[in-house]
């Protein structure tokens, strides 16, 4: 499962589709599992009329969580040493997200990755980096 340093080179990419046509129900699932019940993620009436957005939107942490799935699928379970992101645009119901890890460096039994998640319009919604142990 884990990556082998000998098989990696800078610029290698791993891409996965994180979600197609994001459903409000998945956002509700994430609210329930994470414990973040901010109404802007699940409560259409509040979000439109009080918060001032066109509809509910995903927790940034849902996008980070799904992007983390791409990373663990690539580097193996329990291999991440660091993972950090910036949330660069909101994610809405109906969005389709694709995420890519790009090898930036290989050193000392570790791989440094650049991480980017984009929506169906090519807008980057999450940008970050990760580091993982490799064999």
């Amino acid at each position: 499962m884990a990556l082998k340093a000998a098989n990696l080179k800078v610029g290698d990419k791993h891409t996965e589709r994180l979600v197609e046509d994001l459903k409000r129900t998945q956002i509700v699932q994430y609210a329930g599992a994470s414990g973040d019940y901010n109404p802007v993620h699940t409560d259409e009436l509040f979000t439109k009329e009080v918060a001032g957005y066109p509809t509910v939107f995903a927790h940034g942490m849902l996008t980070m969580g799904m992007t983390g799935r791409m990373l663990t699928n690539y580097v193996g379970d329990g291999r991440l040493t660091e993972y950090g992101v910036r949330f660069t645009s909101q994610v809405w119901p109906g969005d389709t997200l694709d995420s890519t890890a790009t090898v930036a460096a290989i050193h000392d039994g570790l791989v440094d990755l650049e991480v980017s998640t984009v929506n169906q319009d090519g807008v980057e919604v999450l940008k970050g980096s990760a580091q993982a142990r490799v064999d």
Binding site: D43, M66, D77, E82, Y83, Q90
Partner: protein
């Protein structure tokens, strides 16, 4: 956030993995997980965020006997001062970083302590003045060993983020 007891439980890991669309058996099947390098069910990379469930004072969860600001018969249950924030309750999440000293496993009993970090301001193109604030949370295990260091950055906006 201060969390005295954050037990890493199998059912919670399962629900969390489902919610991020991850069907990797490392999160569901203890027998499968036991035979892997991890040696047991581990938590997904962002799972420690769910320590909010175990924070008695977490403000984004309805609590018994307290008003809740989400909608009921009217769009909000609590008249709040217009504080901007851009996220309805407490602003938006701008950044999140984790350092894994090891990965939490089912059976761990973690504690979390949070310290404030830097704050800074910036003029935003789509939402007016932005005020950023950082918090650093240390998750330690039942032996007092550091497991995960989490750094979060929240942002309060002057107005909702323009969708144009």
């Amino acid at each position: 956030m201060a969390v005295g007891k954050f037990p890493v439980e199998a059912g919670h890991v399962m629900m969390f993995a489902r919610s991020v669309g991850d069907d990797n058996q490392i999160y569901y099947d203890a027998d499968y997980a036991a035979a892997t390098e991890c040696g047991g069910v581990v938590a997904p990379p962002t799972f420690v965020q769910a320590s909010a469930q175990f924070d008695p004072d977490y403000f984004l969860r309805p609590k018994v006997g307290e008003p809740w600001f989400g909608s009921g018969g009217s769009p909000t249950g609590v008249k709040r001062e217009s504080s901007g924030g851009g996220g309805g309750g407490g602003g938006l999440h701008a950044e999140q970083r984790y350092v894994y000293h090891r990965h939490p496993k089912v059976g761990d009993l973690l504690t979390a302590t949070t310290k404030p970090g830097k704050t800074w301001e910036k003029e935003g193109r789509r939402s007016g003045k932005l005020v950023f604030s950082e918090t650093v949370t240390e998750y330690r295990d039942q032996n007092g060993e550091l497991v995960v260091t989490a750094t979060g950055v929240g942002v309060r906006t002057e107005r909702p983020v323009d969708q144009g």
